[in-house]
């Protein structure tokens, strides 16, 4: 092993800082930097950080609004690794599913995303991992969502709406005979005089309204009497909702 040459490292320091060295040279620089005497290394590392901060500032010119769906994925990654009660043993099924499949399944990510959406909508992380904790304030939606999310048979399904209207995520429990439905990842918000309406389909007769999604990332819709529901669907309706669907179905999700 050769002794690092501070002079040569000094030459390449700024190129290293901005990832402009090809892979072999980059790795060699990092290795030699690590072998420098502490004081010398600290001086070089400070200059590297300084260069990186300048380029971070330079890069501000390219700032661009990140899609909402990405935000939910990123927050879900963090939420999935940090159950709110910090006790993995008590984590509900949705969190467990998520932990094992987080890096692979988009569906699993969506579960955590849904949990985040619900958690935010309820104003606190009251849902995940609180199966045995004191009950949240008496709010029917909070209670139903908490019960469904922590049900032993909780199942997840999700589906993207047409036209970038969002991603529908359904967490359902046959045992509870209920489902909690959230809408997130909206790339194309609906106009102010329109609303997304959720419908219950039983396979035969006309759809029955299950509720309205007031705002993206807003309160979830709780569907009761799930046993009688074959599928859920979403359409775009005039604000206030309609008695029956008046536009094409944006997504349909069989239960």
């Amino acid at each position: 092993m050769t002794t690092p040459e501070p002079g040569r490292l000094r030459e390449d320091l700024d190129l290293f800082a901005v990832d402009a060295l090809p892979p072999g040279e980059h790795a060699r620089f990092a290795a030699e930097l690590a072998r420098l005497p502490a004081a010398q290394r600290a001086e070089f590392e400070a200059q590297i950080a300084e260069m990186q901060a300048v380029m971070a500032e330079y890069a501000a010119r390219y700032s661009d609004r990140a899609p909402e769906e990405l935000r939910q994925r990123v927050l879900a990654d963090h939420a999935a690794a940090h159950p709110s009660d910090r006790e993995a043993g008590d984590a509900p099924p949705v969190a467990r599913i998520d932990r094992t499949r987080r890096r692979r399944g988009r569906a699993a990510i969506a579960v955590a995303a849904a949990a985040v959406v619900v958690g935010v909508a309820m104003g606190a992380g009251v849902l995940i991992g609180r199966a045995s904790a004191p009950r949240p304030p008496a709010d029917a939606v909070v209670e139903a969502a908490g019960a469904v999310f922590t049900a032993p048979d909780a199942q997840l399904a999700s589906s993207a709406l047409a036209d970038g209207r969002g991603i529908l995520t359904v967490v359902s429990s046959q045992e509870r005979d209920q489902a909690v439905v959230t809408l997130g990842g909206v790339a194309n918000p609906v106009p102010a005089d329109r609303v997304l309406q959720l419908w219950k389909l039983d396979g035969g007769s006309t759809p029955v309204s299950a509720g309205l999604f007031s705002a993206p990332g807003g309160a979830p819709v709780v569907v009761d009497d799930l046993a009688a529901v074959a599928a859920l669907a979403v359409t775009l309706e005039p604000s206030g909702g309609s008695a029956a669907p008046t536009t094409p179905i944006l997504t349909e999700l069989a239960l």
Binding site: A20, A56, Y62, V74, H82
Partner: protein, 187 residues
């Protein structure tokens, strides 16, 4: 760089690493436009950029203990992580071939700094802008090509059909001048 904002981001980063979801949400909301903008600029592909952003934030809170506030800003550290990941991906995917064509046709045009930000940010942008003004056009375009195009200096040399030592010293001299100028302007 953003000294007044920095204690905030550092605190948020540390709280996020400890599992504080509100802190992480705030950190994301304060930094995502920068992080995403950088990834998108380098990759020129939304789905690659989104994946890089997702991986970068994961790395940020998982490795927050490696961030040393005495040696740089939290934002600089996060952007460095993002840059590294974006560059790794652009090289793995050979996306820079497309970017090269883009640079060849459009030149390395740089947009103006965003307007409407707070006063301090504008002051810093002035410092940076003045320092960028010290660079030669060639220094600046090769830095752009390398940093925002994800190219290593040999790739820039090949792309611009310029001898390797010439390109290496051009990028290096430009970067060094920029770093020293901003550092003097800030002190």
């Amino acid at each position: 760089m953003t000294r007044s904002q920095e204690p905030d981001l550092t605190g948020l980063l540390s709280a996020a690493a400890d599992g504080d979801r509100e802190a992480f949400t705030a950190l994301y909301d304060l930094t995502s436009a920068r992080v995403y903008g950088l990834a998108l600029r380098i990759l020129a592909d939304r789905s690659h950029a989104e994946e890089v952003v997702q991986e970068s934030y994961l790395q940020c809170w998982q490795q927050a203990d490696r961030f040393d506030a005495r040696r740089g800003t939290a934002l600089g550290w996060m952007m460095t992580i993002t840059h590294r990941r974006a560059v790794d991906r652009v090289r793995a995917e050979r996306l820079h071939r497309r970017r090269s064509a883009e640079y060849a046709s459009a030149g390395a045009a740089v947009p103006e700094p965003p307007v409407g930000e707070d006063v301090e940010r504008r002051d810093e942008a002035v410092t940076l802008r003045q320092c960028l003004g010290l660079l030669t056009a060639l220094q600046r375009s090769t830095i752009e090509m390398s940093y925002f195009g994800g190219m290593s200096y040999p790739e820039v040399a090949e792309h611009t059909d310029t001898p390797l030592p010439t390109i290496k010293s051009r990028i290096r001299d430009g970067l060094r001048r920029l770093r020293r100028c901003v550092s003097e302007g800030a002190s």
